[in-house]
C-alpha cells in the first residue's frame, strides 16, 4: 500500500469538499458543471479503489491528524460503507454527467456556480457519514449534507419547492437533533464517541436506562431522516418539486445514508449490549415496514403526478429495506443491503426518465404523456425496463433483492409466509402503477399534436447506461452480493 493509497479515506471527503468553494469562483458557462462533474468522478474513482481494497480483504482505517483511535477521529471503510460509497458517488456522477441541459433549464445561469457548490457539499457530507467511525462526526456530516440538499431542492424554478423544503428542514433538523440527544446520552455514560470503542464501553455501563433512551432517540431521529413510514411526510413533496436532476441524486441515496447510520448504530452498538434489543427492533420495524410497503404502493397506484408517484413508490421501497433487516438473520440483512443498491439503480433510472420527459413537457402529469412513446421511443423503452427492475422481474437487478428477501422471510418461520404474501401483493401493486404509465404512454392517443422530440443525447445515453446496469446486475450480481453479504455478516456478527 503506497502512502497515497493510505490517504484515500480522507480524500474521499476532501476532494468534493474543497472543490466546492473553488466552483463558486468560476463564472464561465459550463465551467462550474465541468469542475463539479470531475470532482464527483474523482470521488467515484476513489470509492471504486476503496471497494476493491475492501473486497481484497484489507482493513481500511485512517486516523485524522495521526491521533490514535478512541481519542482522535477515526475513518474506517468496511464492506457496508464501501457498498454505500459506490451508490452515493455513482448517483452523483451519473446525475451530473446526464444533467447539464436539464439543470440549465432549472437553474438560472448566474446561480449555477453556487448550485454546483451546494451539490458538492451535499456529496461530501453524504460520503463523510459513510467513511467516519465517530458518532459526533456523523452528526456534523449529516447536517452538512442536509443543509446542502435543502438548497438543492429549493434551487429550481418551482415555487412549491419552497414550502416543501421548509417542511423538510423542520423534520430533518428535529431528526438530527434527536440523534444528537442520543449521542449525548451515550457519551454521558461511556465517555466515548468512537463507534467501535462505544460497543465495549456500553457493556460496562451499570445503569442501562440512559442507553435505552439513547437507542430510542437515535432510532426515531434517523427514521425521520430516512423517511421510514410514518415519518415520511417530508419526502413526496420534496422529491416532486425539486429540480429533476436533484431528485435523481437524492432519491438514489439521501434517505439510504440515514438508514445506513441507523443499521450501523443498532447492530454494532446496541444489539450486543441491550437486553432484548433485537426483539424490540423487530417489533418496531416489522409493522412499520409492512405498512410502508402497502400504503406507499397503494398511494402510488392512484397518484396522477408522475414524480410524486415515484416518490411514494420510494417510501414503499424503503419499507422493503427495513423489512429485510427486521428478520434479523444474515439473509434478511443481505437482502436489505442488496435492495439499497438495486433500488438506487432502478429508481435512479426511473427518475432519469422523468428528467428526459421533463425536457420536453412542462407538467409531469400522467395525462400529459398520452401517446408520448411514439415521439420518445427510447425514453419510454428505458422506462419500461427500469420499471421491470422496480417490480422485480427475473433478469433485472430488482429480482435479486426480492429473491433474497423472500428467502429470508421463509427462513423466519410461519410468520414469514404471511410476509411473502405481502411482498407478492405489493409487487403486483407495483405492476399496476408502472403499467398505468406504460399504458398511457404507449396506447393512448396524444391530445393535440405538439412537436415533442427525443430527449437530449447525453441525458438519454446516461439513462440507458443505468438501465443496462439494471439488467447487467440482474444477470451478474456477484459484486453487490459479495459486498452485501460481507456487510450483513459484519452487522449480524454483533447479534448475540
Amino acid at each position: 500500500m503506497t502512502a497515497f493509497h493510505s490517504h484515500l479515506p480522507v480524500l474521499q471527503v476532501i476532494v468534493p469538499m474543497l472543490t466546492a468553494p473553488l466552483v463558486i469562483l468560476l463564472n464561465q458557462k459550463r465551467l462550474p458543471w465541468a469542475v463539479a462533474t470531475t470532482a464527483s468522478l474523482c470521488a467515484f474513482a476513489i470509492a471504486v479503489t476503496l471497494t476493491m481494497s475492501v473486497m481484497a480483504g484489507q482493513k481500511i482505517q485512517y486516523s485524522l491528524g495521526a491521533w490514535p483511535a478512541p481519542w482522535g477521529i477515526e475513518l474506517a471503510v468496511d464492506a457496508f460503507s464501501a457498498l454505500m460509497l459506490l451508490v452515493v458517488t455513482g448517483a452523483s456522477s451519473v446525475a451530473l454527467l446526464a444533467g447539464a441541459q436539464s439543470l440549465d433549464r432549472d437553474i438560472e445561469d448566474h446561480r449555477q456556480p453556487l448550485f454546483y457548490a451546494a451539490w458538492l457539499l451535499a456529496l461530501s457530507g453524504l460520503v463523510g457519514i459513510l467513511v467516519t467511525a465517530d458518532a459526533f462526526n456523523i452528526f456534523v456530516f449529516m447536517e452538512i449534507s442536509s443543509l446542502a440538499s435543502y438548497v438543492l431542492i429549493s434551487g429550481g424554478t418551482d415555487k412549491r419547492a419552497l414550502p416543501s423544503v421548509f417542511k423538510y428542514l423542520m423534520m430533518g433538523t428535529i431528526g438530527a437533533t434527536f440523534y444528537l440527544i442520543g449521542v449525548g446520552l451515550i457519551y454521558m455514560m461511556t465517555g466515548t464517541l468512537n463507534l467501535a470503542d462505544m460497543t465495549f464501553r456500553v457493556e460496562d455501563v451499570a445503569d442501562q436506562t440512559p442507553i435505552l433512551l439513547a437507542a430510542g432517540f437515535i432510532t426515531v431521529g434517523l427514521a425521520l431522516k430516512g423517511a421510514i413510514f410514518p415519518l415520511h411526510a417530508w419526502l413526496p413533496n420534496a422529491y416532486t418539486h425539486a429540480p429533476n436532476m436533484v431528485t435523481v441524486f437524492l432519491a438514489a441515496c439521501a434517505t439510504k445514508v440515514a438508514i445506513y447510520v441507523l443499521f450501523r448504530f443498532d447492530f454494532i452498538v446496541f444489539q450486543p449490549n441491550l437486553v432484548g434489543h433485537d426483539f424490540q427492533l423487530t417489533l418496531f420495524l416489522l409493522p412499520l415496514s409492512i405498512l410502508a410497503i402497502l400504503v406507499g404502493s397503494s398511494v402510488a397506484m392512484f397518484e396522477p403526478q408522475l414524480k410524486r408517484l415515484l416518490a411514494w413508490s420510494s417510501i414503499a421501497q424503503i419499507g422493503y429495506i427495513t423489512l429485510g433487516v427486521s428478520f434479523l438473520n444474515v439473509t434478511g440483512i443481505t437482502a436489505s443491503l442488496l435492495h439499497v443498491f438495486n433500488h438506487s439503480l432502478a429508481k435512479g433510472a426511473l427518475f432519469l426518465v422523468m428528467a428526459c420527459l421533463g425536457m420536453r413537457i412542462a407538467q409531469l402529469r400522467i395525462d400529459n404523456i398520452a401517446g408520448i412513446a411514439k415521439k420518445m421511443p427510447w425514453t419510454m423503452a428505458a422506462f419500461v425496463l427500469a420499471g421491470l427492475s422496480l417490480i422485480g422481474v427475473p433478469g433485472t437487478a430488482g429480482f435479486i433483492s426480492k429473491w433474497y428477501l423472500i428467502t429470508a422471510a421463509f427462513e423466519s418461520g410461519t410468520m414469514g409466509i404471511a410476509i411473502v404474501v405481502i411482498i407478492l401483493i405489493s409487487s403486483l401493486m407495483a405492476v399496476v402503477y408502472i403499467w398505468r404509465i406504460v399504458e398511457t404512454a404507449y396506447f393512448r392517443q396524444p391530445e393535440g399534436d405538439s412537436e415533442i422530440t427525443e430527449a437530449p443525447l447525453p441525458l438519454l445515453v446516461m439513462t440507458w447506461v443505468i438501465v443496462l446496469m439494471n439488467i447487467y446486475f440482474g444477470f451478474v450480481p456477484g459484486v453487490p452480493i459479495e459486498l452485501a453479504t460481507g456487510a450483513a455478516q459484519l452487522l449480524h456478527g454483533q447479534i448475540p
Binding site: 459526533f136 456534523v140 443543509l147 423542520m170 449525548g184 457519551y187
Partner: protein, 118 residues
C-alpha cells in the same frame, strides 16, 4: 425531592418540549423557526451540563493542581460545533421564509397550502 435536585435535566426536557410544541402547533413559519431554535438550545444545555463536575476546575494541568478534579471540556467543544450547525439551519430557514414571502405573499402555513391547492 430527588427529582428536583436534577433541575438541569428538567430545564432540558421542558425547553425541548416547548420547542417541539411550537414547531408542531404554530402556523406562522417564523414562530416555527423560533420553536426549532429553542428545541436545539435545549440540547446544547444537555451537553453543557454533562461536562460540569461539582467542584471541578478548568482542565489545565499545572504542577500545583495536578490531581485536582477537572471538568470535561469536550462536551463544550462538541456543542460549539452543534451551535454553528444550529445557526446555519436557522439562517437557511429564514432565507427560505423570505423566498416564501416573495412567492406566496404570506408566511402562514395554512394559507400557503390553500394557494398550492388552487
Amino acid at each position: 425531592m430527588e427529582s428536583l435536585g436534577i433541575y438541569y435535566y428538567w430545564t432540558f426536557a421542558v425547553l425541548l418540549m416547548v420547542g417541539l410544541y411550537a414547531v408542531i402547533a404554530k402556523q406562522n413559519l417564523i414562530k416555527k423557526l423560533i420553536g426549532l431554535s429553542l428545541f436545539q438550545a435545549a440540547v446544547f444545555l444537555l451537553y453543557i451540563t454533562m461536562g460540569k463536575l461539582e467542584g471541578g476546575t478548568t482542565p489545565i494541568v499545572t504542577e500545583a493542581q495536578a490531581n485536582a478534579l477537572f471538568s470535561n471540556p469536550l462536551p463544550q467543544v462538541l456543542i460549539l460545533t452543534a451551535i454553528v450547525v444550529g445557526i446555519s439551519t436557522l439562517a437557511l430557514g429564514l432565507g427560505i421564509v423570505i423566498r416564501i414571502k416573495e412567492e406566496y405573499d404570506t408566511i402562514e402555513e395554512d394559507e400557503i397550502q390553500e394557494i398550492d391547492k388552487r
